[in-house]
Symmetry: C2
Subunit: 289 residues, 2 copies
């Protein structure tokens, strides 16, 4: 695995691959890699000739009072993991490389409010604008054929897909299923913040989503009531829910009669740690539909 | 010359050129082409194997009360002119093709205030955000090796150059000198709005800039006083100046001692028509520098 930090080194490697007619897959990460990230790299290997992973903790997607400064950074083990997963090139830029004009004087991309004012966007104002701002830069710099993102950040995946379609980037966005611990807890760098007691409670986020998804799949289910019951159950397990929401899978709008492909999404605090998760919810046919 | 309107047709043509290893130059326009635009196409021919021109009157760069609806549209003569100038491909998309989510739900790029709050940006709030939003889309869709812009819109040229550098697009931005009538009046689609009497007065914008540039090149010149005198002279010629400004050529900041490469820029109304122009101003060495 090669490692580059500058734009010019990156371009040189990419150009040699392009001249050889090789397809490139991009796996953008913020580092502190776990099996969820490595599943993205493994998937990337299947989709292209060359895999580029990026490690960059992007300041513009963290809000005031969020965990930018404390975000876990583990460059040594990340390098080893990426090499073992078959990554060809690690691009680990510093802030001046990603934002050469500085953060205040940067060109900034804004996602439309319909996608960013709900769910995660409501809890984390400005978060998705920061995400699309950095992802657009990585797309310009790497110009990959395919880019791979995890379904764990489902709203982010949809927003990036929308950005690519709207702006006209010629890049295929590929989503990969969430990787979980045996308990069902979705892997996340933020799980590092949990003490053992919190860790033992955290898996209930998955358990409650799974039960709710099963109840929601039944014809005629009352989603609003199911969402409220799920929040109550999370509280009973010692978690502090921010939202539990059953939405259309393709655009996260509230489901109408006839919408079958849904998604249940949730955010909850476990102590001071904010956890998110989501699951597929395929609604059964209703005689009214 | 081929002509395409859809993203897919565009991609197909570009892909065939890419596979043949041909370099592509892009000339983005809003149509109503004059000799200034055609000079861009001629220059593009020198810089690449293939020339793509786009014609799209971009609504997001027009402010409320500006001339979007009345902006001159002359597709037939544009086609003829482009063909004769050696353009290979005309991409003339409609609004749904450029903004597939609609204007309200579009992803929007914002340029930093340092570049957009001055001169043209001050007179036309939101204008440059609209420009970079559409130009970034055209760059994503065409992915050219080089893109050509006129120096007549000097601030726009600098902002697009900054955007490309900041975002990391692998595109060379090439500026082309302003084309003028014999009188010195810079060619512009908006000259169409001038009646014959206004047209006879309009060339004074160039004449005053040229005189001021000569005076400004002298060691020890007082720029603030020259700007004010230039505004007075424009008024005496029946023009209503919005600004006359002597700035650093590279970033449009106010010149400091030692800055040699300057630019003089102006906007003035002639009747209801808004005209802009700019010239190089190379300051002589001062004994103090």
């Amino acid at each position: 695995m090669r490692e580059v930090a500058s734009r010019q080194e990156l371009r040189d490697v990419l150009q040699s691959w392009q001249q050889a007619g090789q397809k490139v897959a991009l796996v953008p990460t913020m580092g502190n890699l776990h099996a969820g990230h490595l599943a993205l790299v493994t998937e990337a290997r299947e989709l292209a000739d060359r895999v580029v992973a990026t490690i960059y903790v992007n300041p513009t997607q963290f809000g005031v009072g969020e965990d930018l400064d404390n975000y876990p950074r583990t460059p040594e083990s990340d390098r080893t993991d990426l090499r073992q997963s078959g990554c060809d090139l690690l691009f680990a830029p510093d802030e001046d490389t990603v934002y050469p004009r500085g953060l205040d004087d940067a060109f900034k991309l804004a996602a439309p409010p319909g996608l960013t004012s709900i769910l995660e966007g409501k809890s984390r104002p400005g978060h998705f604008d920061g995400v699309v701002t950095v992802v657009a830069r990585l797309f310009c710099l790497v110009n990959p054929d395919v880019a791979i993102f995890g379904e764990k950040d489902y709203q982010q995946l949809l927003i990036i897909r929308s950005m690519v379609e709207d702006m006209g980037f010629d890049i295929h966005i590929h989503g990969v299923e969430t990787v979980r611990e045996g308990s069902g807890l979705a892997l996340s760098s933020r799980n590092n913040y949990l003490d053992s007691q919190q860790h033992a409670a955290a898996w209930n986020l998955f358990a409650v989503l799974q039960e709710t998804a099963e109840l929601g799949a039944v014809a005629g289910a009352d989603f609003r009531s199911l969402e409220q019951q799920a929040e109550e159950r999370l509280k009973a397990h010692g978690l502090a829910p921010e939202y539990v929401a059953i939405r259309r899978a393709r655009d996260l709008k509230k489901p109408r009669a006839g919408d079958k492909a849904l998604r249940i999404l949730a955010a909850a605090r476990c102590g001071t740690t904010r956890l998110i998760d989501n699951l597929e919810l395929n609604r059964a046919c209703n005689h009214d539909d």
